[in-house]
């Protein structure tokens, strides 16, 4: 009796081990609803105004951490978001992209505004603030941030109009994929 039970448990253990060898399905948009907290921050926007998450309620928000002297990943991501929102047409107006600087010592509101100009289709807002304020936002979403380091993640965090976290968009996400996810979120919120 005891033995049979142990064998069944051992079989279960082996089965879970096999799961490991299968690569994680690279679903383009990873659903995170219920796992990440609602959008909340207190920073300065690229017009130099203090803003909080409440200022973006009612909008679908794409949140991304980057810095303006980033030469590859940040501009590529912003270009992808711009293209996807352009393809959405007028519906894209309900979306705001928040670009949070992980280099607040160098990225001024004016610098952010200038850097974001080519990505106007993504309706971008550059956000910066004290190291402490940026760290609080990064910690909230488990995003890498260390003062003085420019390492950052590839994720774009997607929030619905009520500020609820819905998806993580990875760098493998195509423009069409982003468009589809945005439509889903817009339809359900």
């Amino acid at each position: 009796m005891q033995f049979g039970k142990s064998m069944r448990l051992a079989a279960l253990l082996c089965a879970s081990l096999c799961l490991l060898t299968a690569p994680l399905a690279r679903a383009d948009a990873l659903p995170v609803a219920g796992h990440l907290p609602d959008l909340e921050f207190s920073l300065t926007d690229n017009a130099g105004r203090p803003v909080t998450a409440n200022d973006y309620r009612g909008k679908t928000v794409l949140l991304y951490f980057g810095f303006t002297s980033c030469s590859a990943q940040c501009p590529l991501t912003m270009a992808r978001l711009s293209a996807a929102l352009r393809a959405l047409g007028p519906k894209g107006d309900a979306v705001t992209t928040l670009f949070v600087s992980i280099d607040p010592a160098h990225d001024t509101p004016e610098g952010l505004r200038a850097w974001l100009k080519p990505f106007a289709a993504a309706h971008p807002v550059g956000l910066t603030g004290s190291e402490r304020a940026v760290a609080a936002l990064a910690r909230r979403y488990r995003a890498a941030y260390r003062p003085g380091s420019l390492a950052h993640g590839t994720a774009v965090y997607l929030f619905d109009g009520a500020g609820r976290a819905r998806y993580l968009l990875t760098e493998d996400e195509s423009g069409a994929g982003i468009e589809a996810v945005l439509k889903t979120v817009a339809a359900s919120s």
């Binding site: 253990l13 081990l17 490991l20 994680l24 910690r139 488990r142 995003a143 941030y145 260390r146 390492a151």
Partner: protein
């Protein structure tokens, strides 16, 4: 940056701080009555300090953002920290100041089941496999509640397992040696799978951002697999040698004799 900064918690947790403080205070006060030797005192405080450092300092940031650092964190939470604390046999020390027997009563039934050797071995390995299965690992790393559940689960299970393996009152030394041996193969197999995987098993670290920019994802993964493999083998070997020496050779008894009840209170 001041050295004190590294000791500030990355994600402050009242429960971790309170539990550490309570355990430390109880051992210190209980030590006056129970008079543990220097070796036991050293083992207890180093175990407690290690547990605290990996879970409530800036170390935690690196554990969230680099797979191999996460594996080191778990090596301490599940292996080294609980191992050292179990080695200090803190139960009689705590019992001198806390009503442990009364506190243990409601837990007696589940504990009796979970500490059966086969159940303890399965539970120990199942926790590792569960949190390392990629979909679960992803959620554990992004959801702070699951993250805490994972880390607490590791520490509590580690204390249960090593406490029983090193001091387990009800079981013979041979049985406890077998327990420590039995948890090794799964961990080595898992370590090898992770070390030799040709693709990234845990993309969450790249998605949320890596702590060390210069380390490639696969190198990080391989070091993490090696940590899992080595710490499994090393802790078990150390435990087996300790039980062999202390409970068989030095005690002059056979490996199959059940320990005399109450023995754990001595020395």
């Amino acid at each position: 940056m001041s050295p004190l900064y590294w000791l500030t918690p990355w994600e402050p947790s009242f429960v971790v701080a309170a539990a550490t403080l309570l355990a430390g205070l109880a051992f210190w006060r209980g030590g006056r009555a129970a008079r543990p030797g220097f070796g036991r005192i050293l083992a207890f405080w180093s175990g407690l300090a290690l547990l605290y450092i990996v879970s409530h300092t800036q170390f935690d940031y690196y554990a969230e953002h680099e797979f191999f650092m996460h594996r080191i964190q778990h090596a301490v939470l599940h292996h080294l920290g609980p191992f050292l604390i179990a080695l200090s046999r803190p139960f009689p020390v705590f019992a001198a100041v806390l009503p442990l027997e009364r506190l243990k009563k409601p837990l007696a039934a589940p504990l009796r089941v979970l500490t059966r050797p086969v159940a303890a071995v399965i539970l120990f390995d199942a926790l590792i496999v569960l949190w390392l299965s990629p979909p679960v690992h992803f959620l554990g790393m992004i959801d702070w509640r699951l993250y805490r559940l994972m880390n607490w689960g590791m520490a509590v299970n580690g204390l249960m397992f090593w406490g029983q393996a090193l001091n387990g009152g009800r079981w013979s030394p041979a049985c406890r040696i077998l327990m420590m041996l039995a948890v090794v193969p799964t961990q080595i197999a898992l370590g090898v799978v992770i070390m030799t995987a040709p693709h990234e098993l845990y993309p969450v670290y790249g998605i949320c951002g890596r702590a060390f920019g210069g380390l490639s994802p696969l190198t990080d993964q391989r070091i993490g697999g090696a940590v899992l493999w080595m710490c499994a083998a090393m802790t078990s070997v150390a435990g087996i040698l300790i039980v062999l020496w202390r409970d068989v050779v030095a005690s002059g008894r056979t490996a199959f004799s059940r320990p005399v009840l109450g023995r754990a209170a001595g020395r």
